[in-house]
Point group: C2
Chain length 353, copies 2
């Protein structure tokens, strides 16, 4: 069972366990002493995405301490020879502290709560805080202000990509903060991600992720609805995706229809999988609407989308995605349909064998 940490596409829902760092009475610290100095990385929140990220860092030879409220998760990392704790304050001696908890409340608790990291920091040897959870930008700024009072610097670096990319170190990271701080953690970021976007001042990483996900979530579900209609009409879906890829309907799903069908399959294996994706993407859209409202922006289509997505039954998504995942080709197409004229190559090159 996953701990209540960052969820992602293809992963089960957070369960109901207590958030990290709430009750210092429960504190346990196993394995080696946490006092290991700047070479150590603390990983707070080893849930559905955090766990494979932490495993990846262990694979890369990193000296890790893992903090998670789930005994199962801690036992797993103990088996990997890794010290574990359920109290963020025990992570204070690492050089870098990664936060990969599920939401704003858990981040505040783990960072600034009574058994949290920041109250335990010694200003003469403060770690760098690396916030990789997806939270509101103002939460990052609040935590950073607390950290600064103890001479600790903060970087904002939310990730994109599912558990498989987390495990393989091929995530995308949207990092922001002081350039020198980003440079200091870059070797770690490079082990977790195949691309790190530098997004400017602290908080911009979250803003970039939220705004990207606004469009990304809309397209994920809207493109599925589109292909569902086409499927019922008996159209050749690969062909339609190829045309859209070169037209105004271009989106992240038209780049590789076979891969997109795989994503639909992976995320519709059971209702829990669908619920996980729908819930995390509802959170994404609500974050976007909050950001828009606080910026004073009118966003009527986003507002309509938020409501539409909130009201879409999980079973509807399950049905559509499963039908698309099992698609083996339409009937309405001309056999070996082609594109005439000089742009021919640019379409066929995108087709996946």
């Amino acid at each position: 069972m996953a701990s209540p940490t960052e969820t992602g596409i293809g992963t089960p829902q957070p369960n109901g366990e207590a958030p990290v760092g709430v009750d210092p009475m429960l504190s346990t610290l196993t394995g080696e002493s946490s006092v290991r100095g700047p070479g150590r990385i603390a990983f707070i929140g080893a849930g559905s995405i955090g766990r494979p990220m932490a495993e990846r860092l262990i694979d890369c030879g990193r000296d890790l301490i893992v903090c998670d409220p789930s005994p199962t998760v801690r036992a797993h990392f103990a088996d990997l020879g890794c010290p574990t704790t359920d109290m963020p304050g025990n992570c204070v001696d690492a050089g870098i502290v990664i936060f990969m908890v599920a939401n704003d409340a858990q981040l505040k608790s783990a960072a600034t709560g009574p058994s949290g990291l920041i109250p335990a920091i010694d200003p003469s040897s403060a770690p760098i805080l690396l916030i990789m959870s997806t939270v509101l930008p103002e939460t990052v700024l609040e935590v950073a202000a607390e950290a600064a009072s103890r001479q600790a610097h903060t970087i904002d670096a939310p990730v994109s990509g599912g558990s498989l990319k987390a495990r393989n170190g091929t995530l995308s990271i949207m990092a922001s903060g002081e350039p020198a701080d980003i440079d200091a953690v870059r070797p770690v970021l490079d082990q977790l991600a195949s691309v790190t976007f530098e997004c400017g001042i602290l908080g911009n990483g979250q803003k970039t992720k939220i705004l990207n996900n606004l469009v990304g979530v809309a397209n994920l579900f809207l493109f599925a609805e589109t292909m569902h209609v086409a499927q019922l009409l008996g159209m050749d879906l690969q062909r339609l995706a190829d045309v859209m890829e070169q037209s105004s309907g271009r989106n992240n799903g038209t780049k590789d229809w076979t891969a997109r069908k795989g994503l639909f399959r992976w995320n519709s294996e059971d209702l829990a999988a669908v619920r996980s994706v729908v819930d995390v993407t509802r959170k994404d859209l609500h974050h976007a609407l909050m950001l828009a409202e606080r910026a004073g922006a009118a966003t009527p289509l986003l507002r309509a989308l938020v409501q539409g997505h909130d009201e879409t039954p999980y079973t509807d998504v399950l049905m559509r995605w499963r039908a698309l995942a099992s698609e083996v080709g339409g009937t309405g197409g001309r056999s070996g349909a082609t594109i005439s004229n000089e742009h021919k190559g640019s379409c066929d090159d995108d087709r996946v064998p």
Copy 2:
């Protein structure tokens, strides 16, 4: 003033003139006789997109007859040395008859009405009907059935792209019908478009365009809302577009942010320009919803979008697009922001100088 024919992005709204072919009493035929045989092309509906398409064909040396209810439009083409008429039935002796009228009702009137084309066809020398308007697939099938009763074949070939692409012959065409018929008109299609997608059986061209536009319209307006929020937050919009281009937010607007700003500028010059785009895209979304309903597909996000787009005030769109068009760079970014790790090139290559 444009005639009530196919509208497109960047073009004024259709005015209130009577639809093509309604009143045979008004029939006029100027210039040479229309009896010129299969080399001649008839062009019915020379409105905001049709007019530059017809001009393009004249530039290419085509022998054209132009049919439009607007005396101004007819005078324009007469000045270009082109025979004109306001009665589709007068186009019967052309080898190819292009329909570029504004909507389903105008198409039915021009094709099957009392002064329409089909009743005037001599089955022994029937033209090919080339429907380039955006209409419902069933309207294409209805017209094609009527045409077939006079031995005339029909091709469905709606276009994408604005008036500039129409004038330059760089539209995209989504063609469907019998392969031999498409082959017969291919030289004409190639003069109008830089790419022609062959979409299968008759009606699939319209289905493909409607489904593409579903996603395309959503992204056009949603991406503008997204960038509007980013602009109010003081972010670097070029940078954000670059990140989204490589992430789940990838869409047709992230491919080239400078070009997208140009599109926003072009379409927000005055309220009439905005109204034209909003109206034609509302029609697109309603077409998509009709197609979904007739296919028996549940499309909750599309339904929410239709309502949200219908209710968005023109002035809201005007304000947002103008603000984006005048954007000269954000303040929140690290100067010369970069992408680290091996994927660097693929982002910077997309940046427009």
